[in-house]
Symmetry: C2
Subunit: 276 residues, 2 copies
Amino acid sequence: VAHPRLSLNQWTTRRWSLTDAIDGCARHGIRGIGVWREKLAELPAAEARLRVDDAGLTVTSLCRGGFLSDPRTHTTALDDNRRALDEAVAIGTDQLVLVMGGLPDGSLDLAAARAAARDGLEALVPYAVDAGVRLALEPLHPMYAADRSVLSTLNQAIDWAQPFAASAVGVCIDTFHVWWDPDVDSAIAEVASAGRLATFQVCDFLVPLPADVLLGRGYMGDGVIDFEALTRAVAAAGYDGFVEVEIFNADVWADDPDTVCAMVCDRFDRLVAPYL
Amino acid sequence: VAHPRLSLNQWTTRRWSLTDAIDGCARHGIRGIGVWREKLAELPAAEARLRVDDAGLTVTSLCRGGFLSDPRTHTTALDDNRRALDEAVAIGTDQLVLVMGGLPDGSLDLAAARAAARDGLEALVPYAVDAGVRLALEPLHPMYAADRSVLSTLNQAIDWAQPFAASAVGVCIDTFHVWWDPDVDSAIAEVASAGRLATFQVCDFLVPLPADVLLGRGYMGDGVIDFEALTRAVAAAGYDGFVEVEIFNADVWADDPDTVCAMVCDRFDRLVAPYL
């Protein structure tokens, strides 16, 4: 049976519908699930909520909002983020993960994109507070700075979160994105001491990266990340929540999702759980 | 004719021998060259030195030493680095670029690899000082942290250089590796104010990255880097030396090197030179 703090981020078993994933979690004894909006949209949110509750599952986060780095699309993006917050409430999670977006098309102005993303965050916070859902800023690996996230490091996330209450804006720490950072230990401690450690996501960093670098994630143990060190840092910072396993990988997606769940549980038990 | 501060890093015209590259620089009016050890090994160093001097070329750096992150191979690596320093003296440059190395095979211990690299640097400094050659620490993009360089950011390079004289240990700033860094402006200023800005290298960051992420570099203007912003930052910091163009790209390498030189000169004139 799965470790009680393991949560399956459902992009790991991307072939499964939300209903399939809920049933799969039950079969494997997994108690938490990170839900994606694309999957939640497959059925009425109230029905999804009932199924999640019936299975005794905790929805550890909703993925994802954000993409606020282009001022030309702010209005549309903010509308979409408010819908995402509504969906978070509907599915019963208090955390929405935000990927902030990259450089706007045709722009090289990183400072402007960062300013726009921060403005967008500020505009979104009141709605999030009213909804009782925390916005979890996820810094992405610097190799995605242009096309996915102008928010690249934990220290930057700490800066961006600082103007807001810890209950309104937190930080999502994903090992894939932060493992290389020379400041990762101090940043984890600072995120946690500010009360902002919203979610901890794990997966490995593969070397060499595949042709599509977005899919360079692997099962824990298949890459170069020291899960003992990072898990100990998160545990030492006092984190006692769920740990989501989120793997973007073409081979994992092609595999039978039940096989994937079994692998996730096994690797989690051996490489993460001992240090929680 | 090429801008007087343009230097051709010879890996950009990788098909050329050193002799070819020297002649090519003369044809294009390029006054500086960044020499690679693999190319220098093709002929006696004294002969290479004569050819460089006859062409009126400045050797702006020798690439490269380093790979000191594995304590098991320190002895061999230090011997090789001392040879590299001898070669720098022989070809008449006072700067050796160091790529520090990644995780040792089978290890996930980033802290240990960083400590080993710093130990190796410390062991190498006295020989470099005697040789009159500065060691230029080059932080590489975090996507290479496991397989190329556990030194990933300019702030980290500042830390590593700090125990040594500025004349002994400098920092190599390559736009490809540092453009994404939220601290890049302050780090450039700090490197320069410490007297450690050893070399400035330019090339663009391509999106999407190619299948081999080592070759994700392009001509200035072909990717996502704001050369105006970075060049202004380097100029404002007082840097008045050569600017090396170093492009690792399969298409560039396949092209006629004279065509490549013409492109390099043109893009440099338009995207870098105005802000120097």
